[in-house]
């Protein structure tokens, strides 16, 4: 067995690495990418002055948000107003706890038995992520209510209704993946995709899952909770400074989480290609340090593609109307998801 001190240090290292990467690098870079891609799509430059290609823009904005006067508008319900941004950011941070970001590894012989590149090894990992992302609605609902402003309340109402509706569709799409891999442990789900990625048998599930995660993260074309043209900016209208920054940060970190989940569930996690494993091209991802790094980078590249897809979709598609949003969720995605469970069950019985 391993020395427990080293295991604790390894755990601490994973926590620090993961949080600093997601909150310190992925979220700021995504905000920069979002603005640059927006510029590209709309045929203008986007931020390009601070640092090379404007890369330090997010850093400058972050410093500005932190140094800004902590303004609390008159007439807000103060304790709840202050609690809401925290409730928005905590689920976003919690959901990283069970996401594996690489194969079990000995780190080039540092450990005798392969260690998981995952902060917490819960045997209900996937359900935990679903639970925690569904809790993120409280931050939005409370922010809207505490702001004591009709636009904010409208935004909060829309967010709660939307998240309940699309959670069902996403959950049922995930059920078929659980059936295919026979586990809710994310590590095992990835291992079960060594030969065939779940995207092939579960294509319908992916078609349901993708719009559902866009709706759950309140991103365009489903960003009705903060529809600028109708609601100012919805639930965070009354927020400024770092309190607004926390909402912003939680949006981007939940985006990262759901992109990672999409890769883990449908696109084979860190597996190389469908039908072609790392071992086939002579890379040992378990025992060699470089092999592990390659696998982790490959996983990161796939997640980055999904993050880019989020941005691409946002600046391409217009916003839905509210009845279209509800109609799509309940009348199209939900029946497809249920039908898909039958298909997958048939696939598993007869194939």
């Amino acid at each position: 067995m391993e020395d427990t001190t080293i295991l604790w240090l390894f755990l601490l290292g994973k926590i620090v690495l993961f949080f600093s990467v997601v909150f310190g690098a992925v979220a700021p870079i995504m905000i920069w990418v979002e603005r640059r891609v927006a510029g590209l799509v709309q045929d203008r430059y986007g931020p390009n002055r601070v640092g090379p290609f404007g890369l330090l823009q997010s850093l400058a904005d972050g410093i500005k948000l932190i140094l800004k006067e902590p303004l609390i508008p008159q007439g807000v319900r103060k304790p709840y107003y202050l609690l809401a941004p925290i409730l928005a950011v905590v689920p976003a941070a919690l959901s990283f706890a069970v996401i594996p970001f690489g194969p079990p590894t000995t780190l080039g012989g540092m450990f005798e038995t392969p260690q998981r590149l995952q902060i917490a090894n819960l045997n209900v990992g996937l359900i935990f992520v679903m639970t925690v992302t569904s809790l993120s609605v409280y931050g939005v609902a409370l922010a809207g209510w505490a702001s004591n402003n009709k636009f904010s309340v409208m935004g909060a109402l829309r967010a709660s209704a939307q998240m309940i509706s699309y959670e069902l569709a996403a959950g049922l799409a995930i059920v078929s993946i659980i059936m295919l891999s026979g586990s809710v442990d994310l590590m095992r789900i990835v291992e079960s995709q060594a030969g065939l990625w779940h995207i092939f048998p579960g294509f319908l599930a992916f078609l349901v899952f993708l719009p559902a995660i866009y709706a759950e993260t309140n991103r365009t074309p489903f960003d009705l909770p903060e529809a600028e043209a109708e609601l100012v900016v919805g639930y965070h209208t009354e927020y400024s400074g770092i309190k607004f920054g926390l909402f912003f940060l939680s949006e981007y970190s939940i985006m990262t989480t759901v992109s990672a989940i999409a890769v883990l569930l449908f696109f084979g996690g860190w597996n190389l290609l469908p039908g072609l494993n790392w071992a086939d091209i002579g890379i040992d991802i378990q025992n060699s340090m470089i092999g592990t790094l390659i696998a982790v980078s490959w996983f990161a590249a796939k997640v980055a593609f999904f993050l880019f897809l989020f941005v691409w979709v946002r600046w391409t598609l217009p916003r839905f109307r509210y009845d279209q949003l509800m109609g799509l969720g309940w009348k199209t995605l939900l029946p497809i998801a249920i039908f898909n469970i039958l298909i997958i069950a048939g696939f598993m019985v007869f194939a």
Binding site: L122, V124, I127, S134, V153, I164
Partner: protein, 180 residues
């Protein structure tokens, strides 16, 4: 240590349950209710039932209380409207406390004999496999009946919410816009 943790969590559960009942603002009660559900799932974690703990959060904190907050936001209830400012109804309070005491007493008497009859939990206790096997194999009848009841409730809601296309006042809206 474990016992201390249990009493700590149980005490906090009682406290948050009391706050749910006695806070004047409905949304505040809803927040305490979420905390209560978190503490309940902590108790499930203590006995090793991870799956039930997470499902408790997913279903209650993640869906049901969201609906409750939704309704509270929609109705925008004032604190005064709820409390009503009346004195506590003593008869009903005493009756309630007596019946609660009776139930707790019965539980206290019957628990030791029930515990003896319980099979010892296996090594896989609380895992999804063990949970599903118990539910689908040993209790499949009650599971199906509960599912059927929920289906009936769903149909009932559909019936109540359904409006015939003819009664949906399209004509009315058009008249109004014409008048304007």
């Amino acid at each position: 240590m474990m016992e201390f943790a249990f009493y700590l969590v149980a005490g906090l559960m009682l406290l948050s349950a009391g706050l749910v009942a006695f806070r004047p603002k409905p949304i505040e009660s809803a927040l305490w209710l979420i905390l209560h559900f978190f503490l309940t799932s902590t108790l499930y974690v203590f006995i090793g039932a991870d799956f039930v703990a997470v499902v408790q959060l997913l279903v209650y904190a993640g869906a049901i209380v969201v609906l409750i907050t939704f309704v509270i936001l929609l109705l925008n209830l004032n604190p005064q409207e709820i409390s009503g400012g009346e004195s506590i109804r003593w008869t009903s309070t005493v009756l309630f406390l007596c019946s609660l005491g009776a139930v707790l007493f019965c539980l206290h008497i019957s628990t030791p004999s029930l515990l003896e009859k319980m099979p010892a939990p296996g090594s896989s206790f609380g895992s999804i496999e063990a949970f599903s096997r118990t539910m689908i194999q040993n209790y499949s009848w009650s599971f199906e009946v509960a599912g059927f009841l929920l289906l009936l409730a769903l149909i009932g809601v559909g019936l109540l919410a359904y409006r015939r296309p003819s009664t949906r006042d399209h004509s009315n809206i058009e008249n109004k816009s014409e008048a304007a």
